[in-house]
Amino acid sequence: MSDYLGRIITKTPTPPSPTSASGVWSLDEALQYQKAGKWPPGYAISRSVRLRSSASAYFNRTLTTPTSSQKYTWSGWIKRGKLDSSGLQGIFCPYSSGTVYGYLAWYQDGIRIFDRLSGGTNFLLQTTAVYRDASAWYHIVYAVDTTQATAANRVRLYVNGVEVTAFSTSTYPTQNNSTTTNSAIAHYIGYDISNTGYFDGYQTEINFIDGQALTPDYFGYADTATGVWQPIPYTGTYGTNGFYLNFSDNSAATAAAIGKDYSGNGNNWTPTNISVTAGATYDSMVDSPSMYGADTGVGGEVRGNYATWNAVAKASSQPTFSNGNLDLAAAAAAWSGAVGTIGVTSGKWYWEVVNGNADTFVGICGDNLVLATADPQTLTGTILYYGADGRKRVDGTLSAYGASYTTETIGVALDIDGGTVTFYKSNSSQGSISLSSSTLNGRTIFPFIAKYASTANINFGQRPFSYTAPSGYKALNTQNLPVPTINNGANYMAATLYTGNGATQSLVNTVNNISFQPDFVWIKDRSAGYQHSLQDVVRGTGASKKLYSSLSEAENGANSVYGYLSSFDTSGFSVSIGASGAQQVNASGTTYVGWQWKGGGTAVSNTSGTITSSVSASTTAGFSVVTYTGSGSSATVGHGLGVAPSMIIIKNRGSAQDWRVYHTSVGVNAYLALNTPAASASDSGWTATSSTTFTVGGSGAQYNASTNTYVAYCFAPIAGYSAFGTYTGNGSTDGPFVYLGFRPRFVMWKNASAVEAWLIEDTARSTYNEVALELYPSSSSAEAAGSSRSPTQQFDYLSNGFKVRGAQTQTNGSGNTIIYAAFAENPFKYARAR
């Protein structure tokens, strides 16, 4: 149905929750949404406009005398294209002269808000956070009310519904000042004249409210199931200069069509260098923060967050990305490589590439590709189709395949279910290539290209395809991605911050109304440097059940007197004071973080192995707590996960032995020790894994001494929720990008090649990028900030993974093997940009 503004309202877009069938709302969900005043919950944003900075694209309109010269709100959804660490990209910018102007802009990859009166700066804010996630959508609200008594309340900024309060620069307007923004001068969308700063990327659902300073809940809400910020229609008044642009009319590149104002004011915006002519410059996209629609293979139909080239995936020679990261240019000096932002493990997918010359390898790559080390066309982990002579290149080896190509449209049809990839030249199949002939088989697969001295533009379906995709093949967007088992990581893993009170305290792990009863709690103080404290539901609560990741100490040892976990609660846990204080869990005034995982509750007996174990397992979350008694000779132990674990952390409970860590990337017969910074080492008696058991092959006291008791924390990867993998460091602040398939909440690292401490960084402590607040499982050290160290050790947590932004050996030693364990906030299918 439609409302009076011509906007489409439908329940179709919102994904089904695990408790409802596709497209059908459960009564419980419906009542929840109605109670929150958000029914129906799905709101369809049908199109976005791409602004190509290379074409100097923008919209402009000269405003009139405003309803208020002191109050306004700008709200919009933005997906970034070209990243620019030094330049300025104007988003919404008034300009009258070189002394009277302003902007809302990306600047040095942060958000910068500036308003200048003829006499000088009116206000200026620069976020400490950087926003370098071009793989998903941001919602930004910027509201001004200069009449506010408190200076910091006069200009407010919100990203994805959360107010930004950390600014590296903050100058607020004098109370009751008028503003240049929203005055009767020219305004621009996507262009700041003062810096010649063109925006690159996508914008949609822009609401400008003249006369009111509004909060983000006028424009969006946090979904009750996923916790992800979603758009809703703005239903208030707009004021004289207010406007609402949704770019839904792509019949013409005119103010009356693509620049049409749907607020009812008729404040249309004039487009410049915006194209709605079919082809590579077509700027009316179905790339949208909403997800809905069915795919018939023609492209330009399904709404969702679409794949683009990944601007942060580091290559040995980096191409230049532009035009919403759908175009790239490779220099003549070296072969450049680029991968897509969406990886897939199942299904049938189609996209098209048009190249500028024959020095091109169009293809796919697996997550085993190490892009940064050499010419991308030569690398293991790729299947490519060569323009110059039509040969294919599988894992670097060339052989005969199809016809040569230059500027023809190359279609890529990837059938993971059938195990093939087929390349099409101008809609003519060049034959299928088996994935099993390559190292890509069974891996996460991405779009890939290697180029030399030319350009390429790609279409993942955000605009119509040149040729209809083969039957059953879909465009690469989040709507078409499979529905993950876990749509909100907050149901299974939490990082809860609290300040100790020196007595007994109950902590709640609720995030956006989601909470759970944990079965494994790992507590670490942030401010004082006390030992880590680990307790689980199988071993139980109380001072005698503590273990310490930073020590080899057994249960009930010398550290048991410094406070303990006293109960696992319905929505968190409780901590109590010990015989000598509560330093490790609840000292007065000390700050803590409690990492929590959900297992299977009360333990059950597991007889899958030769040793009977007690297991609390969640097969949904891929996590189990296992206790067993060692046999002193080769044995197997049941873990209850149904699939082989990728990481197992074992501790001898009764003896001071090092922790043992198995990680799939280090492999069997090799181990790491959680309580030491040692590099990986070999032990032939150490573990192998299967879907039912792990093997403790010898009599090592760390894992299988006769009559000794042990606890094992076992983790298996769950798509969209957890991942256990490895990457190769490059020693650069432009470090590797690691695709997780989700937006991470918690990541733990270890350099397996070097003597370096374990590291944990989470989003409860580092609430924005760069993520840099460090804690070390193998050390009692208090929290350190990566920026205070050298070389710095920082990360961007992104909608689809993380990007290493520090050069430190600990997580980015050149050529070193770095392992990680990561847990999600949300799967990439639903995640917003960070």
Binding site: G442, G622, P791, A807
Partner: protein, 161 residues
């Protein structure tokens, strides 16, 4: 990973699959019992031999039903040397570039680079040169794999945890 003999198909964890025309969700393997898997004809894959580092070897998986083994053939040594020499030099550059400003400042102001940083920069060059020598001298791929294990020095600001 599991193998389904009757359809000669490999089933990967967290991936939906179809057997006998029936679709199974991505998390079916996680929740199914051993008996459920056996009923469906699924056998857990076991691996024989070592899968070498595919940065250095052409690794071929030999799939024989529920047993997978590997054939590891060394890649062209000269090409690998060229690649890792470039990588080593790039690594050294990335470490040195972070303190290049000190050298520039020292030259412009006629002062000296702090001694600890000079020592560190020399150590980076030395480590790189040692690695380059070892890479050039590598007689085979295993020797090359050992040669690229460079222990870079920590800079003077480094704080061990």
């Amino acid at each position: 990973m599991f193998y389904c003999a009757k359809e000669n198909k490999y089933i990967v964890e967290q991936t939906p699959f179809t057997i006998d025309g029936t679709g199974y969700p991505a998390d079916w393997l996680n929740h199914a019992s051993v008996q459920d898997k056996e009923t469906l004809g699924l056998v857990e894959v076991t691996y024989e031999g070592t899968r070498e580092d595919d940065r250095f070897y052409w690794v071929t998986e030999n799939r024989n039903g529920a047993v997978i083994s590997y054939t590891n053939s060394p890649k062209d040594l000269d090409a690998l040397k060229k690649q890792w020499l470039a990588s080593t030099n790039q690594a050294a550059y990335s470490l040195l570039v972070q303190s290049d400003w000190m050298v520039v400042k020292a030259m412009e102001t006629s002062t000296t680079v702090p001694a600890d940083w000079s020592t560190y920069r020399a150590a980076v060059r030395s480590a790189a040169q040692t690695a380059v020598t070892a890479i050039n001298a590598a007689a085979d791929v295993p020797a090359l794999q050992a040669a690229i294990q460079v222990t870079w020095p920590n800079d003077p600001n480094y704080v061990a945890q």
